[in-house]
């Protein structure tokens, strides 16, 4: 380490509110880099930080000092990359969450460059464990391939054999449409058409709804996210599409359902690997964190993923010793892959060589207002995909780590 680097590290320590002596100690520092101000604040954001802290809390007694800090990446890759670089340079050992694929890809590269750990929960892009995979990155909760397979594949097999897509015109939307198209065609279905709308800056989707209706497809595939999806669903219902079409929100989550309200969202089909009311363990986890989550809402899947990923990371660190863990991020991730995972949110699972964490995924149907027995009682379970089948097969991802080994 050159003089300059040490100096900047010491200054950095001061900036983090630490004395130089502390900066040398074996505290494990975790940075939650998430969307605190933007459109993904609710399903990630402060809730992700709370769930990460929960994992740290459960580990606090076991001989590790853990510190969790958080920052807002504003969904801007440059801001995210800037913070990640600074954090890693200044003694943060692992960065958690990072929704928005573009930011996640940038952070993954920096984690590799600095040999630190990156535990992604919030981003959708399956490239993170595909062409852009890294020995320092774990992709924990979900990805586009898994969503396409579960929602798209299951609906196509269940008779939804003709599709019309409304696609956000950018890389994520295209990837999602492409993946779903493959599963639809595998199941013998056809895609009748697609409208790509400018992203962002589209608020009115009525034109696309009418075009979708005119296509006489059985399924309307929404290859978009967040408020766009919510807007599409609202307007699809308004234009009566739901009378003869099924809506597949490919990246729909509990938070959008909450924002739409059950009377609009009822009957929608979506995929999530975590739902707070799934089983006794998820309910126990929810009970532990809920009081500290924003608005007292139950945890969302990405937030639960932050908990699961951090817990597994800390187990690994405890196993190999804090000093060794701080020194070599790739070694920590390698060890994480060697150990089976087990947490209350996702049950048992494992992390594959390409960095993909696998667990069972669930296809849910949104309840009608009459079926719902209280706040946040939203889903009926339709189908379960076992962990081994839920994600993209290891060989198909094009991850260099896999072909090499």
């Amino acid at each position: 380490m050159s003089i300059v680097d040490r100096r900047s590290l010491l200054v950095a320590g001061a900036a983090l509110g630490l004395s130089p002596a502390q900066a040398q100690s074996q505290t494990i520092r975790i940075g939650v880099l998430t969307d605190i101000s933007g459109p993904y604040r609710d399903p990630t954001g402060p809730g992700s930080a709370v769930c990460t802290e929960q994992a740290a809390l459960e580990f606090q007694g076991r001989g590790l000092t853990i510190e969790v800090i958080r920052a807002d990446h504003q969904n801007r890759p440059d801001v995210g990359a800037n913070i990640a670089r600074q954090w890693y340079d200044q003694g943060v050992d692992a960065i958690v969450d990072v929704p928005t694929s573009s930011v996640a890809l940038a952070v993954s590269q920096i984690a590799r460059e600095k040999n630190k750990v990156f535990l992604n929960s919030g981003a959708a892009s399956s490239d993170l464990t595909g062409p852009a995979c890294s020995p320092n990155t774990v992709h924990f909760t979900y990805d586009t391939y898994m969503l396409a397979r579960s929602t798209g594949g299951t609906m196509a097999r269940a008779g939804g054999d003709t599709w019309y897509f409304v696609t956000a015109d950018y890389a994520f939307g295209h990837a999602l449409q492409r993946d779903v198209t493959r599963f639809v065609e595998q199941a013998g279905g056809r895609v009748l058409g697609a409208a790509r709308y400018p992203f962002p800056n589209t608020t009115d989707f009525s034109s696309f709804m009418v075009q979708a209706q005119a296509s006489r497809a059985k399924v309307l595939g929404l290859a978009n996210a967040g408020t766009d999806t919510a807007n599409c669903i609202k307007q699809a219902r308004e234009f009566g599409l739901t009378r003869n079409m099924k809506i597949a929100g490919l990246l729909l989550s509990m938070m959008e359902v909450h924002s739409l309200g059950l009377d609009v969202a009822q009957g929608l089909v979506l995929t999530e690997p975590f739902y707070w009311n799934l089983n006794d363990r998820t309910r126990a986890f929810t009970a532990r964190v809920r009081s500290r989550l924003p608005n007292g809402w139950p945890p969302a899947q990405v937030q639960a993923g932050c908990y699961g990923a951090t817990l597994h990371y800390l187990k690994t660190v405890a196993d190999m010793g804090a000093a060794a863990a701080k020194a070599d991020g790739a070694a920590v991730v390698a060890r994480m892959k060697a150990m089976p995972t087990d947490d209350d949110a996702f049950g048992t699972g494992l992390i594959r060589p390409d960095g993909r964490k696998i667990h069972p995924t669930y296809l849910w149907e949104v309840k009608t207002p009459a079926q719902s027995r209280g706040a946040w009682d939203y889903f009926n379970l339709l189908a379960t995909t076992p962990a081994e089948e839920a994600f993209r097969p290891l060989a198909e991802g094009g991850c260099p780590l896999v072909t090499r080994s």
Partner: protein, 293 residues
Amino acid sequence: MDLFGIPAPLLFGQLLLGLINGAFYALLSLGLAVIFGMLNVINFTHGAQFMMGAFVAWMLLNWLGIGYWGALILAPIIVGITGIILERLMIAKLYKLDHLYGLLLTFGLGLIIEGLFRNEFGSSGLPYRIPAELTGAWDLGFMFMPVYRGWVVVVAFVMCLATWLVIEKTKIGSYLRAATENPALVQAFGINVPRMMTLTYGAGVALAAFAGVLAAPIYSVNPQMGSNLIIIVFAVVVIGGMGSILGSVLTGFGLGVIEGLTKVFYPEASSTVIFVVMAIVLLARPAGLFGRS
């Protein structure tokens, strides 16, 4: 029958939808034009005030149990009053300065309002239901026309017409037009020009909030709903000719239709097309379609 490879009825439906979107552009650009004509301020807060209209409607419903019809009247009044306060406290201080300061100030105010709402309500949006009287849809044969959308066009059109009549045909409107031309002279005639400016700003803001209430049931009620629209509305105002009431209304509806057609033939370009039109108009008529240079 097909036109340009698209079945004629479908094309017809799209024209209709374009007109509906145009209604929002017209209402928003109308408010901007009124404010600009009188105050010479480009109201960058307009998008945030549109968003406030939708949120106030939501608050009225969820906190006070006042439904859509009440909100349609109350929300513009409430947001209009906040506009009047802003005008008195801040914007009025800038009239003697370069007009660009008004733009910068309202830009800052927009940031503050949007940020505050995001802190308070999150970002994923809140549900707001279409009023029971306006649910359902007409089956036009070639398409499904929701009753609520029809209502939006009609009410927006009436609102625009009413505003135009007030400005062109009433006494107060004539004061307003006169004050736009020469405030000092109008003041000399004993008319309280500063108060007129305050009320004009309030009215312009109220129009934005009214559009916000109209939008609440069909678009997601979220803090960034206004900033997505505002740039397009700016382009509408530039194309129509700044400060021209009739120009902004006609351009609003017209551009809605053009955008609607683009959504059929080349949807990827549907948000760019307005700016292309703007560039062309500016080349041919720098003052805008209805503006005076």
